[in-house]
Structures are given as structure tokens and as C-alpha cells.
Amino acid sequence: MKNARRLVGVDINATRLGLSVGLSLADARARHPALIAIDADPAAEAKLLERLADSCARYTPLVALDGRDGLMLDVSGVAHLFGGEEGLVEEIEARFARQGFTLALGLADNPRGAWALARYARHRIVPAGFSGKPFAKLFHEMPVAALGIEAAVAADMARAGLRRIGDLAMRPRAPIAARFGADVIARLDALHGLARDAISPRFAAPDFSAERRFASPIAHVDALMATLAKLADDLVVLLERREKGARFVELSLYRVDGDVRRIRVGAGRPLNEARAIARLFAERLAGGAEDEIDAGFGIDLMRLSCLVAEPLAPSQSEFERAFEAERAAKLADLLDRLSARLGPSRVTRQTLVDAHLPEQAVVAAPAVKGEMRARGEGLDIYAAREAPSRPLRLFEWPEPIETLAEIPDGPPLRFRWRRVLHEVAAIEGPERIAAPWWRHAGAPTRDYFRAEDATGRRYWLYREGLYGRETMRAKWFLHGVFA
């Protein structure tokens, strides 16, 4: 029996034929050969349930998943927006029906009660005026399974003659807890509203949010942006009351077909200007997020929520930012003055470029032309290693030196530069650098060496021309000095 394929869900037609969950597929087929069976796909169902949960955020921000086939909505203080509890229940049922879902709904003063009502009762809403004892009695006729306990425990209880919740509620608590577990009593208390049983929502409720509902769905970007501006106005009013600014804002678009699109933007400082918030979204949408909207069959609810709000009062970091901005402005002024006096070509910034020849590895641009592009920053091949790979100073014209080496193409033992003889105490190389052949045909290859002389001065030498291939008498040059 264990490995049989079983029914995990039945629709209303199948129920009418007497099929129920748990029946093996072979038995069901035997009874009704025309049965249409589809393989269960728990992953897809879970995903669908999450989407439905998201779409329920239009009713309340506090939406939680409940098992593999349920949603729990905390609608405290929300129902009046939909014309009371009955209006809310009807609205939800109608919306889901339009999408092809049949719902079993329950609405009660606590989550466990609502759960029991949805699954085991005929009325969906606890009638008005039912609280305390009458409210508890409402559940006494229900089977113990309405507590949401495991089937094995329910079977145990049935063997002990406890079939309905009322049977449990009338009996002393201690023996029941001892025999069936403390969980049963906890659930009973939750059902009676004696213990608080909170739901764990998928998203934390935002502190501030503004929304607009549309009688007829909108699909046009212009209408969307106009509404966004109004929402931003509303949000700013809410924020101002608390003297806060928005750091992180989310725009949720609820589509008619139940889909929800969320677009989030962050701000560097707390924003409390509606136009600034709207502009952030406008830029975000212009920057390729357009397809994120995809109005589909239209949007019938837009909500703008402030996920992170911060006090507007100037903070330490804001002072620091102001200080830095002031410093940058001062620097710009200074560079302008110096450029005006000495000439723009004398006041420069440098950027690394991707070039092999050392004399071309950097470009200088006048500093007045504004900030340097960060283009060269990615070129971190020179960045700090054990010892620097490039000299601090580079001669515009490499200076010829006389060298003495053990073998013709070996590193020098000593060299003479500017009439001073240097004994090489340490040397590293060669680092072979060739000019790009497509530009300088026939330019000799350079083999660079980092050499340190006996007194600790460090030099960048190179030998021009590959020995034996490009030249028979290699020339040596000193190209730069290290610190």
C-alpha cells in the first residue's frame, strides 16, 4: 500500500463523485475510468502559493504561508476598508474565483480559530457578538483534527473516545497533556483565544505606505508616473509627521491577474521631498527597468512603501558628508586658480591606461576638465606587492649605461651611469616588454631588470634587443629609479 500512487488533491467534481484525498489512483480509476489525473508538482504548487500570498498583500501587509495549501492573513483593522468583514471575505473570494481558484475561507479572532473555521465549519465568519464562552462553544462540535494536530494523534484520541474538540475542552487538562502532548493543550488555548498565536508574515509591514486603487486597471506608463507622484506626496506627508525621511522605498504594482511587481530604490540620504522620490523611480524605470513593470492586463493597485525611514535631524555622517563636499569644492577652486595662473597643462591628474610600454602607461589630463574618469582604477597590476614593480621616477629619455656581465645576454654585474660605477648587489628580471608590433614594426624588445647596487639604490635597467636574434651588441639603458 505504501508505494501506491495516491490522490493528493481533488476538485469539486471529483468530490461529488465520492473521491477523496488519500485514495490510491488505481482504486479511483477502477471506480471512474474517465478520471483525469495529473502528476503532483509540490515545487510548482509552493511557488504558486507564494505568488498568491504576494497578491494578498493588497489586503494587508501581514501575509503568511500556512502549510502547503493555506494562506494566513492578519486583517486586524483592515476590514473596514472593504466594507466590513463580510465585504472583505466576498472581495477575496471573488478575486480568487476570477483567477480560477476555489477557496475555503475562515475569519476569526485568532489564527487557529480562523484555520478551524476555514477547514471544518460551515460558516466562514464568527457571527457578531460571539466572544468568550459562546465563541469557544462554536468549535466544540468540530472534530479534534480541527486543532491542526497530526493524524496519528487524532487517531489516538479517537481510540480514547475523544472525537470532538468539546470532548477535550470539558476534561481536565493535565491528563490530556500527559497522554497526547502539551502541544494539544497549547492549540486548544490558542483556539479559545487564551494564548496569543502570532503569524509570521512573509514581509515585515512597512512603517509608512500610501496606495491608490483603480476602478479600471491602468496599463499606461504616463498614468503610472502621475499616480506615483501623488503617492509620493502622500508618503511624504506621513513621513513629515514623524520628522523622518525615506532611505529605501518600494513601489508595488498589483496586477489584475494576481501578479505583483516590486521596484525598490535607495537614497543616499533620508528623502522627504516627493519630487526627489518620484525622480528616483523615474530614473530607475528609464534605466531599463521598464520591462520590470510589464503591466500585463493592467494594474489595479499601486502602493508606495517606505521600507527604511531615518530621522531627518542632521546626523554625524551628514556633517562629515557636508565637510567632504566643502573640501571638494575648495579643491576645485584651488585647481581653477592654479590652472589660471600656471596654465592648464601644468595642473594635471594622471590615469593609468592599458599599455605595455612604460612611457605610455599613463596619461595626464588637465585637472580643470573636472573629475578624472575612474577608468584606470581597474588596472591594479601595479598595486602593492612585496616590492614595487615600477620605478617611482621615469626618465623621459632612457640614459645609456655601460655594463659588464658574466655572459653576453646575462644580467649585469656592474654598470656605469653618469660616470659613477655601481656594483649590482641584487637583481630581478628580466621582464620582457615589447612595443606593439602592429604599430612599431621592428622596434627592439626590451628586457627590464630591477637592480639594487651595493649602497641600496634601486634602478630600473633594460637591455634593448634580443641577443642573437635582433642584435649582436645589446645596448643597455637606465630608464628609472626606485625609492
Partner: protein, 271 residues
């Protein structure tokens, strides 16, 4: 001279100049900090001279190390000003080399001045603006550099709250003879680095930048005569760790050869 200096310091003390000093000192190494009175003042003029003609790059390397530290500490731009002639004789500062030395190229602004006079002017203006974290100047012709100019630079540094590092490339070996209003003066020589082992087993590989620094002058701010513990003959060996922007004092054993070569000046003079 000493009498005059004391008189000036008394006047400064009375006018409250000495008290208003911001105490933003940059900690270098333990030995140097003790001699500098807790670190290098972040709002004064410091002079750096090479010990010999071929130590120009070492002097600049030391100054740029200090500059990198100031820029990191204050996260602001640095200005490097150079007299045209210096670049012609010693080679121009090389961007990749600066990066390898631990400087942020995007935060550096390079200024070339046609002569020493305009260099000092530009330095003074840059210091006064309070915008850069550090101003490094490289001067070749020192004829126009006198007590008045150094005093102006020192005051500008104090006004803007930024240090001025003046590298006097042509003043090799003259560190003891210069008279200026600078807060400190260093004489820098290149020192043999800690050689890395070579794969072939031959000569080693050149290591991190190494310097032999001599603190020739230190005013210590308060101006109570030469500070206790300032031994102008003492050579301090430093290596520059560019990735952490940090000077190290290597263990003595690393530099036995050169240490005996430089020796304490007093010992050499007694021969």
C-alpha cells in the same frame, strides 16, 4: 641666533599662536615618534633632503610615503608640486610607480611650476585653501628659499591644517647647514633592502623600499629648546610597506653591514 629664536617663541607663546595648534600628529615608528614628540605634526612644514646626489629618489620615496599616510588618514586629495628642472634632472614621477608605492593615483593632482618662486607661491596657496590632505613640493633651485619663505609656508600649513613636505633635491648633504622655520628636517639616504631569495641561488632580488633616515631638526611645537632625545647623528632604518602604507623599523640584524658603515657620527668624528 638662539637668543633671537627664543624671543620669537616667547612672542608666539604670548600671542597664543603656540596654544592654538591642532594636535593632529601622524604616528610613524616607535623610534621616530619618540624623537618627534608623538608623531609628525599634521599642520607644519617638514623638509626632506637627500644625503647624497644619488639619494634623490629615496628622499622623494620617503616624502611620498608620508603623503600616502596623510592621504589615507584624512581621505582627501594630495597635491604634488614640482619645479620643472627637478623632473628634467631626476626623471618625472611615474604613475604606475606611484601606484606601486601605495598612492591612490585618482586622488593626486600634479602641478609643475616653471621656477622655485612660483612653486612656493602655489604651495602656500594650496596649503591655505585647506582642501588637500597633504602638499608635497619638490624644489631644485634653493636660492629663493629663505627664513621668510619657510615661515610663510609653515604659517600656511597651520592655517590650512595640512602638512607641507618640501623635498630639497639639490641640498644633498647640506641638511645640517640649512636654517629655516621648518618644524622638522629629515636627511634621507637609500638603504640596502632585505633581499629576497633568488630561484637560481645567485644574487638576491631587491626587496621593499628601504631608507636610512636622520632626523636633523625637530621643533616639537612647544619650542623649549632642542627636545630631549633628539640625537641628530642617529640613523634610523626604515622600510616602506606600501600595501599597508606603513613604515617599519626592521630588526638590526637585517642591516648589519650598512649600520656599521654609517655608524654613529660621534664615533666617526673621534677617529
Amino acid at each position: 641666533m638662539a637668543h633671537l629664536r627664543r624671543a620669537v617663541e616667547e612672542i608666539e607663546a604670548r600671542s597664543g599662536l603656540a596654544e592654538t595648534r591642532a594636535s593632529s600628529r601622524l604616528s610613524l615608528t616607535r623610534a621616530l615618534d619618540r624623537m618627534l614628540g608623538g608623531g609628525l605634526a599634521g599642520d607644519a612644514l617638514h623638509e626632506i633632503t637627500p644625503a647624497t646626489p644619488s639619494d634623490g629618489a629615496a628622499a622623494m620615496g620617503f616624502a611620498l610615503g608620508l603623503a600616502a599616510r596623510f592621504m589615507k588618514e584624512r581621505s582627501a586629495a594630495g597635491l604634488i608640486l614640482a619645479e620643472d628642472f627637478a623632473a628634467r634632472d631626476m626623471g618625472a614621477l611615474h604613475g604606475p610607480g606611484l601606484v606601486a608605492h601605495g598612492l591612490e593615483l585618482s586622488r593626486l593632482v600634479f602641478v609643475r611650476a616653471p621656477d622655485a618662486r612660483s612653486l612656493f607661491q602655489a604651495m602656500e596657496e594650496a596649503l591655505k585653501s585647506g582642501a588637500p590632505a597633504v602638499v608635497v613640493g619638490e624644489v631644485w633651485r634653493l636660492k629663493s628659499y629663505d627664513l621668510a619663505v619657510s615661515r610663510r609656508l609653515n604659517l600656511a600649513a597651520r592655517t590650512g591644517g595640512a602638512p607641507a613636505l618640501l623635498v630639497q633635491a639639490s641640498a644633498y648633504g647640506a641638511a645640517d647647514r640649512i636654517s629655516s622655520a621648518a618644524e622638522t628636517r629629515f636627511e634621507i639616504a637609500a638603504a640596502p633592502s632585505a633581499h629576497g631569495a633568488s630561484a637560481s641561488g645567485g644574487r638576491g632580488l631587491p626587496g621593499r623600499p628601504a631608507f636610512a633616515a636622520r632626523l636633523v631638526k625637530s621643533r616639537l611645537g612647544s619650542g623649549q629648546g632642542p627636545p630631549v632625545g633628539l640625537d641628530t647623528a642617529r640613523t634610523i632604518r626604515l622600510t616602506w610597506r606600501s600595501e599597508d602604507k606603513q613604515f617599519d623599523e626592521p630588526a638590526i640584524s637585517l642591516s648589519l653591514v650598512a649600520a656599521s658603515g654609517d655608524g654613529p657620527r660621534a664615533a666617526r668624528a673621534s677617529h
